[in-house]
């Protein structure tokens, strides 16, 4: 690896001060499973790594039945999928965090890092969008909040300015009769990059009628793709086979994938339909459980 500098600030203010001074040659280091590999392979021009894991806000993981889930940006995957309340209330997050890399990667890799790396195929981002998550950002000019669906702007790019960092991700409190699910297609069983991913959520009223649904896709556009029309098409209806198939069809027609070594555009479109339908059925089972 090229020579770099390393800092381990203990507060948000100290971290922002370094980012402000060093500009985009400074990068926050969370689990390092993207950053260290990219710098090691000379794929990213970085002078100073700013370790976020000593900043308490970035390591917070707390659940409140009224307020929802606060997920510090640097909390590693294993802390998420082993958390009893996350298992119970946010199973879609367990789906995503338990397939990011293997066990060793999950010992370090964070959802904040997955989001800030902003890859179109990132496995946690559709799930966060499906849950209606927002992120808390801090920079030299103070704090702001951004919905996850507006965070990524292009492959590897996002709304963070050079002096800004992600503090945490907030998932709304779970409503009664709600469920979510993330599914991806890969040619192997594990340790691969999604050919397509689908993250969905669904909420029912006491009579089993859909009151809200959200669908987001991985690897079918330059950024993770939120498809509001697909979820909205279910609202006010009973979640029948037909209604779910119609929502999946909308997702399929909205996806704008490219052909590359992982799959053709045609194959990907087909997969969007299949995965969205299956994920909606699984989310529905969870909502009814």
């Amino acid at each position: 690896m090229r020579a770099i500098q390393y800092a381990a600030p203990r507060s948000l203010g100290d971290a922002v001060a370094i980012l402000q001074e060093r500009g985009n040659k400074a990068r926050i280091l969370a689990g390092g499973t993207d950053l260290i590999v990219q710098v090691g392979e000379d794929a990213r021009d970085v002078d100073v790594m700013v370790d976020g894991k000593h900043i308490p806000e970035l390591m917070e993981l707390s659940f409140d039945p009224e307020k929802g889930l606060t997920l510090g940006a640097a909390v590693p995957c294993y802390r998420i999928y082993e958390h009893p309340e996350i298992k119970k209330h946010y199973p879609g997050l367990v789906d995503s965090t338990s397939i990011i890399g293997g066990t060793g990667i999950q010992g370090r890799a964070s959802v904040g890092g997955n989001l800030c790396n902003s890859g179109p195929a990132a496995d946690s981002i559709p799930t966060l969008i499906a849950y209606g998550a927002t992120v808390r950002i801090v920079g030299a000019n103070g704090e702001r909040t951004v919905p996850v669906e507006n965070f990524c702007t292009a492959p590897g790019r996002n709304v963070l300015a050079a002096d800004e960092l992600l503090i945490s991700i907030h998932l709304p409190a779970p409503s009664a009769h709600s469920g979510a699910c993330y599914l991806r297609f890969i040619p192997r069983n594990e340790m691969d990059i999604a050919v397509v991913g689908a993250g969905v959520s669904i909420t029912l009223d006491d009579n089993g009628i859909v009151t809200a649904a959200r669908v987001a896709l991985a690897a079918v556009a330059p950024t993770p793709l939120f498809v509001p029309e697909a979820g909205d098409s279910l609202v006010g209806k009973a979640p029948t086979e037909e209604a779910i198939a119609a929502a999946a069809e909308i997702a399929k027609n909205t996806a704008r994938p490219i052909s590359d070594m992982r799959g053709t555009a045609e194959h990907r479109k087909h997969l969007v339909g299949v995965l969205t339908r299956r994920a909606l059925h699984r989310a529905l089972e969870r909502a009814r459980a």
Partner: protein
């Protein structure tokens, strides 16, 4: 500026295989490089240096990690177990003995990673199913054995400990 930014060598203290160690590493060094080149713990192998193969696995603060994806400076004040901390040539742990008896290795490059990763699994879950073993070891690649012999060695170890 309030925070120190390290560019030269940093003194790192950590507990490695139960012993306190202090050494110097530059910020650019991975933990894999520091273990091998600064501390002589060459059991840790470099298979890919990009997180994909698991040959560099150690347990750090109770969790399995790929040391090629960790900076040495991040190991400050941590507790690390490498393959050297499992058994000794004269005192192999049952898992190591069974890798030998079941021919769970050929070239051996992947073996330290498999041993450390499997030990981490069995410490957490002493009686995993085949599926749980394979899923846990998904990040450990072997180009020689075809995996079945590794599974046999692990299952033999589980059978021995659960019938004791």
């Amino acid at each position: 500026m309030a925070v120190q930014i390290a560019s030269g060598k940093v003194a790192i203290s950590a507990t490695i295989n139960g012993e306190p160690q202090t050494w110097l590493s530059e910020p650019r060094e991975t933990l894999l490089e520091a273990l091998r080149d600064r501390l002589g713990l060459t059991g840790c192998k470099e298979g890919c240096s990009n997180g994909n193969c698991g040959a560099c696995n150690v347990v750090m603060d109770g969790r399995l990690v790929n040391t090629c994806c960790v900076l040495a400076v991040e190991a400050q004040e941590s507790e690390i177990t490498t393959v050297e901390g499992l058994g000794t040539p004269d005192g192999l742990i049952p898992l190591q003995k069974n890798f030998l008896e079941e021919a769970g290795l050929q070239c051996g490059v992947c073996t330290p990673g498999f041993l450390v990763a499997t030990k981490a699994l069995l410490d957490k879950n002493p009686n995993p199913t085949d599926d749980e073993i394979r899923w846990w070891l998904a990040g450990n690649l072997c180009r020689c054995t075809g995996y079945d012999k590794i599974l046999n060695a692990i299952k033999k170890t589980i059978a021995e400990t659960t019938t004791e």
